[in-house]
């Protein structure tokens, strides 16, 4: 088991480098980084001299691999002799420096540090909600197969996977905020418990629905197995059969899905944060990406934000693998255990 985890952890290193290269390339891919910085700052008076000046300040005139190395490790350090600005050249990702936001005039790392806990709070709440709702609906549907309960739950579930987050969010606001006035109007400054419930529930819907469907089919699959018949035949109570024998085995495929849903949840968070004005990473990221055709983009925030989301996704995937291996001894001993 430990060998398996160690192997997976070692595999993280090349993945991290691959991801970091892709994320780094986002800015050079735009074609003209200096122009991006200027339009991000809202400067209209773009002259060739100004572009050249900015290019030197940010070190864009250097070869790409030097820029990447510097972005990652902070080496080589900024060289004022070449016109490089010590303030705006990052001291390296590995040192926790994501660069300096040229639209907000603050280090990206501190912006992200403010926003990340909010995103984690929202995602984690939604995750727990979807877990509880999804498992309960799935198990009850499987146990009451082909009854009204089953049809109602599964009908709800297929609607749950068909509703786009953003529209469901809008409808939640319309019904519970505008009409019933149960919750306060979402505003950017506020983020207490009352502001958390609606976005968390909306975010949980899709995952809960697909979890319910998965749990139901997995449970039905297990209930057909011989060992369940054996358990019943030796006179175990139905409760013991379901909770001790069936549920444990039905949970194996579900557990993988559970963690594989995490990247999806983080994708959904981005939309939820925008709809509900939640001050998290997603809102920061989308506003930095220059929505609605706006040229004002903040690429250092985009790079930092995308990298953060990708790293979280990779870690969630690792968690899924480990859980799966833990619950399923076949994998554990088969593969370098």
């Amino acid at each position: 088991m430990y060998g398996f985890i160690l192997k997976r952890l070692l595999l993280l290193i090349p993945i991290f480098f691959a991801v970091s290269i892709v994320v780094f390339l986002l800015l050079p891919l735009t074609g003209d980084p200096a122009r991006q910085v200027l339009s991000g700052q809202g400067r209209m008076d773009v002259t060739p001299e100004l572009l050249d000046n900015i290019s030197h300040q940010y070190g864009f005139h250097r070869p790409l691999y030097i820029q990447y190395l510097r972005w990652l490790t902070g080496y080589p350090p900024a060289d004022p002799g070449q016109g490089e600005n010590v303030l705006v050249i990052p001291r390296g990702l590995l040192m926790g420096d994501f660069g300096f936001s040229y639209t907000r005039s603050r280090p990206v790392a501190s912006l992200m540090l403010e926003a990340l806990p909010q995103t984690l709070l929202l995602t984690f709440t939604a995750f727990i909600l979807s877990l509880v709702i999804g498992l309960l609906l799935g198990i009850f549907s499987a146990l009451r197969r082909k009854t009204l309960v089953d049809y109602t739950f599964m009908g709800t579930a297929i609607f749950g996977v068909s509703i786009p987050f953003f529209w469901q969010g809008l409808m939640m606001i319309l019904i519970f905020v505008n009409w019933l006035k149960w919750f306060p109007i979402p505003t950017a400054g506020e983020h207490g418990l009352m502001y958390l419930i609606l976005p968390a529930f909306t975010l949980a819907t899709h995952s809960a629905a697909s979890l319910a469907r998965m749990t139901r089919s997995s449970m039905l699959d297990v209930l057909r197995q011989d060992y369940i018949r054996t358990a019943r035949a030796k006179g175990l109570r139905e409760r013991a059969v379901i909770y001790k024998h069936a549920l444990k085995n039905a949970f194996i495929p579900v557990s993988t899905l559970l963690f594989l849903r995490l990247p999806f949840l983080f994708g959904g968070t981005v939309i939820m944060e925008v709809v509900f004005s939640w001050p998290g990473m997603g809102r920061l990221l989308v506003s930095a990406m220059g929505a609605y055709g706006s040229p004002a983009k903040d690429w250092f925030i985009v790079q930092g934000g995308v990298l953060m989301f990708l790293v979280i996704a990779v870690l969630a995937n690792l968690l899924a693998d480990i859980t799966y291996a833990y619950l399923n001894p076949k994998i554990r001993y088969g593969e370098g255990g």
């Binding site: 509703i163 953003f166 319309l174 505008n178 939309i271 995308v306």
Partner: protein
């Protein structure tokens, strides 16, 4: 000279007849197949199928169904409630919302269709290669597939649009960056399973080339799960592209798009009726569309995979 043209025409005619016979034979076999018989009895296939057909019909004949031009503004006619003339009312610029929804269906289906084409043409050959060759090639491709599948597709797609700009085709490419991996994994699994079949062994024994085995034996037998996956791509594509447009990083005006419109209309949600209807009605159409595809896809999957039938 004339004879030669006549001769060509005759062969052309013959080919058409042969094709028609082939198609008729295929349809007949389809009708007799257990999957089709299952579909005809399944309520999900009926409901979902009707919705899908309706949406496809709407998208193709948008010009006949829409009563007004979706982009014509009429400022003297703003914020009308639903009426016979304007089934969903009019928006803040006096445009007919129903017409915009109808044309939005076209945008959504174009994105779905293109995404299916693009991600299949990347994923299918890669999956086939991985499954058929096995060994190091398989290992390499599947490592990549696993890594891509673990990534949040929406965020990658948003980053792609931020770099390369908005538009229908860019949204399709942005979604295909992560979309191909699912197709590749499915195709690999299918190829691996089919490779073990006796008819492949027989084909090898009579000395068929790899190319013949792939095109005449593996592909035709892998087609049904692929069709299911293609069907399931539509709801995902509609959902994701609408989300992207809603965030302002997807399809841009003047192309009518459900996500973009809903974002434009959301600011009138706080106003008294009928203003909130501007977000409610188009949203319901969108949900029903996605639901229809999901429902139909579910039935299709069960029809092709007898193990899942209950």
């Amino acid at each position: 000279m004339l004879d030669r043209i006549r001769g060509r025409l005759r062969t052309f005619e013959k080919e058409i007849v042969i094709t028609i016979v082939h198609i008729r034979g295929y349809l007949r076999r389809l009708q007799r197949s257990p999957a089709f018989r299952y579909l005809r009895r399944d309520i999900r296939a009926k409901v979902g199928g009707v919705i899908v057909l309706l949406v496809v019909f709407t998208a193709i004949f948008a010009g006949f169904i829409a009563r007004h031009d979706p982009t014509t503004q009429n400022l003297s006619n703003r914020f009308q409630g639903p009426s016979w003339e304007y089934p969903f009312g009019t928006d803040d610029a006096g445009r007919d919302i129903f017409s915009r929804v109808v044309y939005g269906a076209r945008t959504a289906l174009i994105i779905g269709t293109l995404l299916v084409v693009v991600q299949t043409s990347i994923g299918l050959p890669l999956g086939l290669l991985a499954g058929y060759r096995g060994g190091k090639v398989d290992n390499l491709i599947m490592r990549l597939v696993d890594a891509v599948l673990a990534m949040p597709g929406l965020i990658i797609a948003l980053a792609f649009v931020a770099v390369f700009g908005p538009g229908i085709y860019k949204v399709v490419l942005a979604l295909a960056i992560t979309g191909w991996a699912g197709c590749a994994r499915l195709m690999r699994g299918q190829t691996l399973a089919i490779k073990e079949e006796t008819y492949i062994e027989a084909a090898r024994a009579i000395g068929e080339k790899d190319r013949t085995i792939i095109f005449n034996y593996v592909l035709p037998n892998a087609i049904s799960p692929l069709i299911v996956m293609m069907t399931m791509t539509f709801p995902a594509a509609i959902l994701l592209s609408a989300s992207m447009s809603f965030l302002g990083l997807g399809v841009m005006p003047p192309t009518p798009d459900w996500g973009y419109d809903l974002n434009a209309y959301k600011k009138f949600m706080g106003d008294p009726m009928p203003a909130p209807l501007m977000t409610i009605l188009p949203g319901i159409v969108m949900v029903i569309t996605i639901f229809g595809f999901n429902f139909f896809g579910d039935a299709l999957r069960d029809a092709y995979d007898p193990r899942l039938r209950e």
